[in-house]
């Protein structure tokens, strides 16, 4: 696990229906570390005796002495976002990870296209700030449900004057990715963050236009989903654990006192990859790290977001 620290909630602000911005400062006598554009932190909380770990992109400027995140309350919240929205107060202390960057900026490009969908705007905002500061050539495409959800729209418009494009679902507007990717100069990079469907549509349009993977950058964090109860055996530690239907495999391993490596807890970074010794049931792979071939090999699993459908899973940990 990455290094942990305490932060103090200094400000909570409502941005849009169901979206709040939180500002964190260091406890007295301490300083927050600087971070690079695209970084996120993982907030750790314990609700009703169960641990929760939620990753959020830092949207402030790396030079600020504080950290800022924006949180959308999930309609079906396991507790993490509901807690942030309803229970957290200014002055509270939170346990968080140090910043981690899985979505860093490639600085060698000639041009950049930033694409945000909904609350996926948060890392895009930090990239736009950095690109504006470095006077890089970039444009921003931002799709939301309806005008009131256009959070940080004014700031993005200021950062990319004349090159800020919005798409309102309520007005049946959608970005035309095929057109967007069809005629960009060599050396263009795309950064996309948003709902899975939008990311897939964006990346697929880029691939169809012949873009190489090295120029297509995306980030999405997944929450572990509920599933069937199953048994996991940690072969090296000789521990047998029951993973409840509402607990992730990683949380169950940690509750049993094991300390498997992990970073993002959202199926993106690959740190928690575990070797499967055997499994007598079906895998439910939900990460975006393993390749399709690795997923179907039944040899690897990412415990943070993936699980199995009942039965027994034996891991080499």
């Amino acid at each position: 696990m990455s290094a942990m620290r305490n932060v103090v909630v200094s400000r909570i602000q409502s941005l849009a229906p169901g979206i709040k911005e939180f500002t964190f400062i260091a406890p007295p006598g301490e300083e927050l570390s600087r971070f690079s554009a695209g970084s996120h932190i993982v907030i750790h909380s314990v609700l009703k005796g169960k641990p929760h770990h939620n990753p959020y992109s830092l949207l402030g400027s790396p030079d600020d002495p504080y950290w800022r995140i924006a949180v959308r309350r999930q309609e079906v919240s396991r507790g993490g976002t509901a807690y942030m929205h309803e229970a957290l107060k200014e002055g509270d202390t939170l346990r968080v990870s140090e910043p981690i960057n899985l979505f860093p900026l490639v600085r060698l490009g000639r041009k950049y296209i930033l694409v945000a969908g909904g609350i996926g705007v948060t890392p895009i905002l930090s990239h736009a700030r950095e690109m504006s500061r470095l006077k890089m050539d970039f444009e921003v495409h931002y799709a939301v449900r309806s005008p009131e959800y256009l959070v940080f729209g004014d700031e993005l418009r200021t950062l990319s004057p004349g090159r800020f494009y919005t798409y309102l679902d309520s007005a049946q507007e959608r970005p035309d990715f095929k057109q967007l990717f069809g005629n960009q100069p060599l050396g263009t990079h795309t950064y996309v963050c948003g709902p899975t469907g939008m990311i897939d549509a964006c990346l697929n349009a880029g691939r169809a236009a012949g873009w190489p993977e090295s120029h297509l950058h995306s980030e999405k964090f997944l929450a572990a989903e509920h599933g069937e109860e199953f048994t996991v055996v940690a072969a090296q530690s000789n521990v047998t654990i029951t993973v409840a239907s509402d607990t992730s495999l990683l949380d169950a391993l940690e509750e049993a006192g094991l300390n498997p490596p992990c970073l993002c807890r959202g199926g993106a970074c690959g740190q928690c990859e575990a070797e499967v010794v055997s499994c007598d049931s079906e895998f439910v792979h939900r990460d975006i790290f393993l390749t399709d071939a690795e997923k179907s090999s039944r040899k690897k699993i990412m415990p943070c977001v993936s699980r199995v459908k009942g039965g027994t899973l034996i891991l080499n940990i």
Partner: protein
């Protein structure tokens, strides 16, 4: 000549060119005509529109197949005019292009530099060595750049030092590093051998 088995990490490894089907358009730069290498590439049809920039005459028999497929072939008399045309083509090109270069190392890395200049990444460029293993050499003492060096030791065209041609390669300079061989024992120059035919 003794074969080199020791490799330093910076030394480039040149695989055989293969058309990259993930690209939408393809640009092939042929620096030296070498029939066997082109044959490897031509075993399969190019998966998309192809243009060729060629140093030399387009009448070479190795190019007959491309002529039959109505591939546009641009001929250049000199390396400088070819690289200038390449830079111009890349500046105008759009995402989806794949660049392939075939020939001696000096030219390959000039093509790579032209690609990097417009922000192309490693997975958009393929380089394949053909016709000679003669090396581009950079003198670390005076900065002189030399090309097609076939021997283990060479005289610097700039500062006239005797240079050992190392395997240490700079992608930025597109050349192998040349160090003075007799810095510690002035005048002691080991036998000069042709090791890069």
């Amino acid at each position: 000549m003794s074969a080199y088995t020791y490799r330093v990490r910076s030394q480039p490894d040149y695989p055989i060119l293969k058309w990259d089907a993930s690209g939408a358009r393809h640009l092939l730069v042929i620096l030296d005509l070498d029939t066997t290498s082109i044959a490897d590439l031509c075993d399969s049809a190019c998966p998309g529109p192809l243009e060729i920039l060629l140093r030399g005459e387009a009448t070479h028999p190795a190019l007959v197949r491309f002529s039959k497929e109505n591939v546009l072939i641009h001929s250049f008399a000199s390396m400088d005019s070819l690289i200038a045309a390449l830079e111009n083509a890349l500046d105008q090109a759009t995402m989806g292009l794949r660049l392939y270069a075939l020939g001696h190392e000096d030219g390959l890395w000039k093509c790579n530099k032209a690609g990097q200049k417009v922000g192309m990444s490693r997975d958009e460029i393929q380089l394949a060595q053909a016709s000679t293993t003669g090396r581009p050499v950079y003198c670390v003492h005076c900065g002189q750049h030399m090309n097609l060096i076939h021997t283990n030791i060479t005289l610097c065209a700039g500062c006239k030092r005797h240079l050992l041609v190392r395997d240490h390669f700079s992608r930025l300079l597109g050349a192998y590093m040349g160090f003075q061989i007799d810095a510690e024992c002035p005048g002691f120059i080991p036998a000069v051998e042709e090791v890069f035919p």
